[in-house]
């Protein structure tokens, strides 16, 4: 333990200010902050499940709550962060899942591209199946 070695261990100051030192750090933080919006939206949906279980009137009240201006603003911001999370996640996919066929590695752009294509197809399918058109 550090305390046993030195009576006055040096504690490096650690603050949030480093995130403003480079645009790359800000982009990293934007990516990490997506979790707040994805988490909050998911908790909102858990509340929606409660309302759905309680019956048509409670579900109707939930849908009315969704229509408040604060909810609309939240949804737009959350959608932006969710899309940002997806793009960063798929762009990292080739690093997480390098694919080797024979001697050659599959190009990174192909792996990321396959993820983006699957994302588009899946999103369209959900959109259709939910009757949103």
């Amino acid at each position: 333990m550090a305390e046993e070695v030195s009576r006055k261990p040096y504690v490096r100051e650690m603050t949030y200010r480093w995130i403003f030192r480079h645009p790359r750090y800000l982009r990293y933080m934007a990516r990490e902050f997506s979790c707040l919006f994805i988490g909050a939206w998911t908790l909102m949906m858990v509340w929606g499940l409660k309302q759905l279980a309680e019956g048509p009137a409670a579900w109707g009240a939930f849908l009315e709550c969704l229509k408040s201006p604060a909810s609309i603003v939240f949804h737009v911001i959350a959608l932006g962060f969710a899309v940002y999370h997806s793009t960063t996640w798929f762009n990292l996919a080739p690093k997480a899942l390098p694919l080797q066929i024979g001697e050659e590695f599959v190009p990174e752009a192909a792996i990321a591209g396959a993820h983006f294509a699957a994302w588009a197809v899946l999103s369209l399918a959900v959109f259709f199946l939910a009757g949103a058109f």
Partner: protein, 113 residues
């Protein structure tokens, strides 16, 4: 060999990160449309209630809720550390507890549908 619980917390994080990357934007788009008054057919009470009444859909919804909340919790924990909060055990306890409580609540409500 050192025993680590890292794979246990990191596994659902990676799975949840992938799941939310594929699914969450379109789901948020659906509730955004509902918020704008253009409610998708699926979100009408009768259809959604029938959909959520099937055991397979319940299982899927519970799984999506768990993985989404867990990956968000894990990422929030790391973000707190990055922002200079060094009480990692306390942060981890709170965020994972919220994720598990949210999942538990979702399972409870699903059984009532």
């Amino acid at each position: 060999m050192a025993i680590s619980n890292k794979p246990i917390v990191w596994g659902p994080f990676a799975a949840g990160g992938t799941l939310t990357a594929f699914l969450t934007p379109v789901l948020i788009l659906l509730t955004l449309l509902a918020a704008l008054g253009h409610t998708p057919d699926l979100l009408a009470y009768d259809r959604l209630h029938a959909f959520a009444g099937h055991w397979l859909a319940k299982l899927a919804v519970a799984g999506v809720v768990f993985l989404s909340l867990w990956s968000a919790a894990h990422r929030l924990r790391i973000t707190c550390y990055d922002l200079g909060v060094r009480a990692d055990v306390a942060v981890a306890t709170v965020v994972y507890a919220v994720a598990l409580a949210g999942t538990g609540a979702a399972v409870l409500y699903l059984t009532k549908i």
